[in-house]
C-alpha cells in the first residue's frame, strides 16, 4: 500500500459523513438554544411584577408653545421621552426610543409626524402609530394629566389599545 494511504487513512466519503454529523449536532444545539429563548420569554411574561409608574411633573403648559417640544425622562432616568404641543392644541408624550432599533425619534420637518432619522421610520404625532418605515410597533405613549398649567405623567401605554386618548387638551 502506498505511503499516503497510511498517512491519510480516512476516505473522502467518511470525512464528509463525520462533518455532516457534527453539523447536525450543531443544528440541534441551536434548536435547543431557541427553545431556551422561548422559555426565557415565558418566564419574563409570567414572573414579572407589573410595573408601578411614579407620578412625575413633566412640564408647564406655559413652557411649550404650539408646535414645540420638550424632552424629559420617564419613568426612570434612563428612559428618554418627548412631549409635543401639537398644532391641534393637544399635549402628547411618547417614549423617545424608536420601536425598531431604539434610535432617538425627533419631530419631522413638517411638524405633523415623528421621525426616526436612523432608518426613516415615521410615527403619527397624534397617537404614535407607525405611518411609514421599519418600526414594527407604535411608540409607547406616556399618559398625561393636566392640573392647572402643570402636566403630570402617570403611566406608560405600550400602544396595544389605539383607542385610548392619552393626550391632554391645551
Amino acid at each position: 500500500m502506498k505511503l499516503w494511504r497510511d498517512e491519510f487513512s480516512i476516505e473522502t466519503a467518511h470525512e464528509r459523513y463525520v462533518a455532516r454529523r457534527q453539523f447536525g449536532k450543531f443544528l440541534v444545539l441551536t434548536s435547543f438554544g431557541m427553545f431556551v429563548g422561548n422559555l426565557w420569554i415565558l418566564a419574563r411574561s409570567y414572573f414579572r411584577k407589573d410595573e408601578v409608574f411614579p407620578r412625575t411633573l413633566v412640564a408647564r403648559t406655559t413652557d411649550i408653545p404650539k408646535g414645540g417640544v420638550k424632552l424629559f425622562q420617564y419613568p426612570g432616568a434612563q428612559d428618554p421621552c418627548i412631549l409635543f404641543h401639537t398644532q391641534s392644541d393637544r399635549y402628547v408624550a411618547y417614549s423617545q426610543k424608536c420601536t425598531h432599533l431604539s434610535c432617538a425619534v425627533i419631530p419631522a420637518a413638517d411638524g405633523k409626524r415623528i421621525e426616526c432619522p436612523c432608518h426613516h421610520g415615521f410615527f403619527s404625532i397624534e397617537d404614535g402609530r407607525v405611518l411609514q418605515g421599519p418600526p414594527p410597533r407604535p411608540l409607547p405613549r406616556i399618559l398625561l394629566e393636566q392640573q392647572g398649567d402643570e402636566l403630570w405623567a402617570f403611566g406608560v401605554d405600550l400602544g396595544n389599545n389605539q383607542a385610548t386618548d392619552s393626550g391632554v387638551r391645551g
Binding site: 454529523r21 453539523f23 396595544n160
Partner: protein, 84 residues
C-alpha cells in the same frame, strides 16, 4: 453490503435528516422572533403557545438527531471518531 455503499446510503439518510432539521430550525427561528415581538409589544398571551411549539420543534430536532445516531450505529461509522 460493501462498506462504501453502506457509507453512501448513510450519507443520503444523514443529508435528509439534516435538511429536515434545518427546515424545523427555520420555523423555530421565526417562532422565536414572533414571540419576542409579541412580548415586546406587551402581549403576554403568545408566550405559552410559543414555548410549547418551540419545545415540540426541539423534540422533533432531537428525534432526528437520534435517528442520525441510529444510522451511525447501523453503518458502523462511529469508530471513525474514536481513536483506535
Amino acid at each position: 453490503m460493501s462498506e462504501p455503499r453502506q457509507t453512501a446510503r448513510g450519507l443520503t439518510a444523514l443529508d435528509g435528516a439534516i435538511s429536515l432539521i434545518a427546515i424545523l430550525l427555520i420555523v423555530q427561528m421565526w417562532l422565536l422572533t414572533a414571540t419576542l415581538e409579541a412580548f415586546l409589544a406587551g402581549h403576554r398571551e403568545a408566550a405559552i403557545p410559543g414555548a410549547v411549539l418551540s419545545g415540540l420543534l426541539f423534540a422533533a430536532c432531537f428525534g432526528l438527531y437520534r435517528f442520525i445516531e441510529g444510522i451511525d450505529r447501523a453503518s458502523g461509522e462511529s469508530t471513525l471518531t474514536k481513536p483506535t
